[in-house]
């Protein structure tokens, strides 16, 4: 096993999570995004049963779920929360029934991953590419958030909504081994929530969120190693703690 696997995944996947978070948060998709990560569970179950690397099961199920949310969103203006909630908790339930007992905790809350070097490198490279995409497409994502009708006049279509969902789904897939299916959605939301309280402009918001994502994940992994916790809960609780500290800085008008 390559050395410092957890550290590198925490750093690069943390940065990627922080980069995509602001757009998910401003689109008011935080809860849908959180529920999305549960869909990974049946994918993990199938991988364990048929003995292939769970990463591939996770990525297939998450990308499928991203397309499903995109399709549901297109059908009505209101995000179909109830359908998403039902479907995603159902997949959580199915996953739990299928996964052997010995692997349940690890699937839900993450573990220090052991990966082959090629797979580790592929995950790290993908995390870098996805982070870069968030910055490159920031203007277009933001345009669709600030004024969808104006964005439409400027020729920005729903393709960018799908792109955002797919980037999000892939980032969730990358971090699931370390953070777990129940908590990985939270890792994309927490750095963005903290940065939102501190930043005055969108450009600073995205940069700060990316830095916080990397820093919180690395610090969480260090704490988990030191005190023998699971890495997922350590990262998430550390992030929530920092969020609470950032609350006094939130500007007025925050709902």
């Amino acid at each position: 096993m390559p050395p410092h696997t957890s550290f590198w995944i925490a750093l690069l996947v943390g940065i990627a999570s922080g980069s995509v978070g602001p757009f998910i948060l401003l689109r008011r998709m935080a809860l849908v995004g959180d529920a999305l990560s549960h869909v990974a569970l049946p994918g993990i179950a199938l991988a364990l049963i048929y003995r292939f690397d769970p990463f591939y099961g996770v990525i297939v199920f998450l990308i499928g779920a991203a397309f499903l949310i995109f399709w549901l969103e297109g059908r009505s203006r209101v995000p179909p929360d109830a359908i998403v909630g039902l479907l995603f908790t159902a997949s959580l339930a199915i996953g739990i029934l299928m996964i052997p007992n010995a692997d349940v905790i690890e699937s839900l809350f993450g573990a220090f991953p052991s990966l082959s070097l090629p797979l580790l490198l592929a995950i790290l490279l993908t995390a870098v590419v996805l982070s870069a995409l968030c910055f490159l497409l920031a203007k277009r994502f933001l345009f669709l958030i600030v004024s969808p009708e104006l964005a439409k006049v400027h020729g920005l279509g729903r393709g960018y909504d799908l792109a955002l969902l797919l980037i999000f789904a892939m980032i969730v897939a990358l971090g699931i081994k370390l953070v777990g299916t129940l908590l990985m959605g939270a890792l994309t939301i927490i750095p963005a929530s903290i940065a939102k309280n501190l930043a005055q402009s969108m450009r600073r918001y995205v940069i700060l969120s990316a830095i916080l994502g990397g820093a919180i994940s690395v610090a969480g992994v260090w704490l988990a190693e030191r005190f023998r916790f699971l890495p997922g809960p350590a990262i998430v609780l550390l992030g929530v703690g920092i969020f609470l500290l950032s609350l006094p800085f939130a500007r007025r008008g925050m709902a």
């Binding site: 958030i145 005055q200 402009s201």
Partner: protein
């Protein structure tokens, strides 16, 4: 289509969920002209705009001038007030480079801000911190960045505090005069229509009247448009 016609619409009809929303609407918009679209709620004014922008399936003919540059001005932003997005960044959505804008872009932006009577300090404000009047002027300035030959405005003063509607219309009038930009605007305010529009189109699913405000807005036409109750009562 004449050379000075920016937009020519013939027999435009839109059907939604099997019901007619617009029926055989025809009108033209000339260069540098201000045309006001009025009508009761549900008359199809916003649908008309969306059809003109090619965002709705429709029948009939919508013909824009060749190489026309359309500036669309929405009523408001669709974001929560706490979103950390500065006014500058809203303008940057139209810059080729979002992260490091060119001096040429910021130079043009300064001009548009001046035309709209906005202080450059407004750029540092968050979108949620702008007043209604500032928001509307920021939206118009942003549309002007495209150097449009026509501006489409859907009730430009809907979110503006009372007393400032006049300022917004005066500024639009200035754009029309100084730049020769045609204005196509939806308005509820008949006094504005009399004052700033050269022509008016009364819409209630189909065209009820059109012409200069003085000719077209006779008591009979207004009664047909807003119901037999008679006078149009303006609410605020």
């Amino acid at each position: 289509m004449n050379d000075d016609t920016v937009l020519s619409v013939e027999d435009l009809s839109v059907t939604m969920d099997g019901l007619p929303v617009l029926q055989k609407v025809s009108f033209t918009l000339k260069q540098g002209e201000a045309l006001a679209v009025i009508g009761p709620n549900g008359a199809g004014k916003t649908v008309l705009f969306r059809a003109l922008l090619g965002q709705l399936p429709h029948s009939g003919l919508v013909q824009w001038q060749r190489d026309v540059n359309i500036g669309y001005v929405p009523q408001r932003f669709s974001i929560e007030r706490s979103a950390p997005i500065s006014a500058m960044e809203f303008f940057l959505l139209q810059s080729p480079d979002f992260w490091r804008p060119s001096p040429a872009f910021t130079g043009q932006l300064d001009q548009e801000l001046k035309l709209m009577g906005l202080d450059p300090g407004v750029l540092r404000k968050g979108l949620g911190e702008l007043s209604g009047g500032e928001t509307q002027r920021v939206l118009i300035a942003s549309a002007l960045l495209q150097k449009p030959s026509v501006l489409l405005l859907d009730e430009p003063t809907a979110a503006v505090d009372a007393g400032f509607e006049e300022t917004v219309y005066a500024l639009l009038h200035r754009v029309q005069v100084e730049r020769g930009t045609a204005l196509l605007l939806i308005s509820h305010d008949l006094s504005v229509v009399y004052r700033y529009a050269q022509r008016v189109l009364c819409l209630n699913k189909s065209v009820v009247c059109q012409g200069t405000p003085v000719d077209a807005l006779n008591p009979q036409a207004l009664a047909t448009l807003y119901g037999e109750a008679g006078f149009y009562h303006h609410e605020h």
